[in-house]
Symmetry: C2
Subunit: 567 residues, 2 copies
Amino acid sequence: MQMDPQELLSLCKRRGFLWPAYDIYGGAGGLYDYGPLGAALKLNIENHWRALYVRGEGFQEIQCPIIAPEPVFKASGHVDAFSDMYVECTSCGETYRADHLAKGLHDNPATLNEEQLGKLLRDNDVRCELCKGELTAPKRFNLMFKTSIGAGKGKTAYLRPETAQGMFVNFSQVYRYGREKLPVGAVQIGRAFRNEISPRQGLIRLREFNQMEAELFVHPDQKTWPKFRDVEGVAIPLLPNSGDARTMTLGEAFRSKIISNEVLAYFIWLTYRFATDIGLDPKRLRFRQHEKNEMAHYAIDCWDLEAEIVYGWTELVGVADRGSYDVQAHIKHSEADLTAFERFDEPKEVEQEAVKPKYEALGPMFKGKAKAVGEALGKLPPASARGKDKVEVTVGGERLTVPSSCFEIMVRKEKVSGRKLVPHVIEPSYGLDRILYSVLDHAYRKKDDYITLGLKGLVAPIKVGVFPLMAKDGLDAIAGEVFDSVSAAGLEAYYDDSGSIGRRYARMDEIGTPCCVTVDYDTKSDGTVTVRDRDSAEQVRIQKSLVANAVSALISGSPLKSISALR
Amino acid sequence: MQMDPQELLSLCKRRGFLWPAYDIYGGAGGLYDYGPLGAALKLNIENHWRALYVRGEGFQEIQCPIIAPEPVFKASGHVDAFSDMYVECTSCGETYRADHLAKGLHDNPATLNEEQLGKLLRDNDVRCELCKGELTAPKRFNLMFKTSIGAGKGKTAYLRPETAQGMFVNFSQVYRYGREKLPVGAVQIGRAFRNEISPRQGLIRLREFNQMEAELFVHPDQKTWPKFRDVEGVAIPLLPNSGDARTMTLGEAFRSKIISNEVLAYFIWLTYRFATDIGLDPKRLRFRQHEKNEMAHYAIDCWDLEAEIVYGWTELVGVADRGSYDVQAHIKHSEADLTAFERFDEPKEVEQEAVKPKYEALGPMFKGKAKAVGEALGKLPPASARGKDKVEVTVGGERLTVPSSCFEIMVRKEKVSGRKLVPHVIEPSYGLDRILYSVLDHAYRKKDDYITLGLKGLVAPIKVGVFPLMAKDGLDAIAGEVFDSVSAAGLEAYYDDSGSIGRRYARMDEIGTPCCVTVDYDTKSDGTVTVRDRDSAEQVRIQKSLVANAVSALISGSPLKSISALR
């Protein structure tokens, strides 16, 4: 259903899902508060994701700091390459993303460099949208929020632009906790930050946002997943980078090499399951494979879950096979040994190169130091000496040059029990705020100005509204008892005794509460209450002592009819 | 029990509770990762707190951004006053908190200013602890992490030093969501940041930490709480700022005015209940009232929950009556109307002052503008005109001076239905990392090198270990089924089939798992398994189909004996 983007946002503000942050100080672009209903909805989405990934698939949930020292993001590439270009109005100071201003002037402005983009804007006389002032030439702007740790000069640090790096730098810890086996996975749910030049579209492009990311470390040659057998028959809407959109089974997509491996295919399924569990409309979901020129150079394959919402098709989740890129980058920069050990079924005889000192040449040349120099040579990596005229070694703090006449590269056979390997990473990365927004978007229904949010029971912030027909004659006391009984069962309930019953139903429908319970005068005589189902507006009467069970059943998806059997 | 602080931290690192953050890059002071067990323990603590505050007391949980623009913390006072003094070594560059270096040289170095502290350090020839270099004079250092929002010059912003401000700035939203009644409360669970000059003591003083804060907005003259009746008989160890430490009932403490009001007393009780629920040892807890000179000038009363841990008595929670200070500060800086409306039982006739223009004087003086000037005068706040020789008004963009001969202050009677009031704030503020650390500290037991973490079932990261006696003969398959049945019941289980059973029990005891289930050869014949209780090391046999129920009962505190009845 097409709607005005402001319509849903306005409901969200009015009813306590979302508030523009720091409103009393004029607000701050790209920052939102989750009000009580939004925070509860978010928590319910997080908990279901956790149930699937942590309890269901055995991922380790960890929590890393938001602030990280510069070397972490130097290694990840964010310091050098995580940037957009902006232009500034020379008269009013307003800033714009340069590529956004070039839309319509070029097929793909994101591929242009500063100069090309600057020329394009100049040639088309693009000006400030507010005051028609002249714009500066495009400048690169790093999208990480920068800060500094410690007093005095301090150390440069950044707010993480993604939660992923915390898991990559901890690979060895995760591997050890997983008792040194592959595959092993970690997840993190938390805030991440991008200093967007011009944030917009409500929750879709925020400066401070929430991610749920999983990093699965796998053996590079064993991208298989036993549970894939159970789901390969599931059909999913795919939009491959070659050929047309089609709904096909995951098994078919894997066998025809559209999806590059089984692990990726399994997590595409898990993502689809998650999305439909929390109430996204399957008819408005698809997995779009990245174009070859869209993928990072190191990525092996990448699929985005996209949802059709008021802003058009929007990326909610990326499921990527990132190869060994991330772990390799941290090995290179930290010099830490972020490898897994693959034990062979039985020890293998392998040929190993080594640097062998020639003492007959070392003796005359280095005299009393010859033995120490020989030992230092023996420790050199063969690759650093092979084919060289001379090498350098350090002996007793002294740097010595040793000519190639003093050593040779020899090959020796050794029995080894296994080998070190750098794991590949399969990364399902979920944009939590966008997912939450899309859940609201797909749940939104309006008929003659009557708004209903069709949230599923699993995620609805309030599970049941509890009303006394009148706030007198003891009906309120009974309703209070019913409220306490559902609360005690761990179900979020909302007590409301003001206004007509119709008005109270409408309030609950508008915030997505799946059912309501009304205590009336019959309750006093026969102990029954009315349970009303939001989506059908049908009602049944059941014993008041059964309300908690009935609500549990309803929000797990049981039909209202089955509830009436509880009577 | 006295122990080496490193002992517990080393267990935490080894077993996956805590990891020093960014270890492969040499670490970063004051930043820790929560490993899988730490993150699960933290989540369990958060969820119990949420159950008490949100479901139990009806607080609204909200989530605000971590980044805030400068005006927010200008209003809160943090930009001007949230600082420590540091000195820097002139040769090696090491930084120190100046007051820490003065310990032992002065009774209370925190009360000294830059000059006094500098003199004290100079007079005592205090030098760099690392290289004995000379130190600079003390300088003030603001403890907020600073950053900037947006491209170009950007806007100065800070990482929040507490979650509280997000709730104060949202008072009107919270009040409206609560249907405009007092008391109304909001809570927030999340990260906060303090750029400590020298962080130390593991989780006790972090640069990035986690808070659980509640802000209860109350009527200034109605600091009562009906549920206080239910708990006033509970005795709690108190250390008032007048007189000796003693254990007394909350009712007694309130009636003898040791605790200044009922609301505060109730939340002291709730804090105590929370602390003991999650396993803190009541014998190592106390509530210490702030000294009069320790309290902020605006605070009405403040009590800290302190726990005795390896570092000594340590503040975990502050429960404060902050008066109207915080809300007033934001009213002043934002000019927003952050008030509640108190509706009188029936409309009252009140005397209102107003500025009344004297047109007979205005006419000759202001001619054609007289009417506009008169209207402008009528809108002036009476206080700004009372007793003044002249006032200024703006008419049509022009600033005009009006002598007192042109107006008078008159008193008129009006019927009003209520009045605006600025709420007072009762703030229970919980330091989550310190609480988590204290839970581990109080749970730690060591006997002949055998370590047991006596975590309560409510918070234990793993609820049950599931073991096949041997990983063969089908025992592993049965253990797998048992594992699946407890997982499906939402209980975190850990499957282990390697090493002796004793070794496997030891692994579980060391991470605080309350019970273990072993599948052995009898299981194949009679379907029973062994359930072992961690704390008594006693065992009972029950039917394997009852394991999930038995574990649920055990972790809720049922004795092992009652479990055996399930057989």
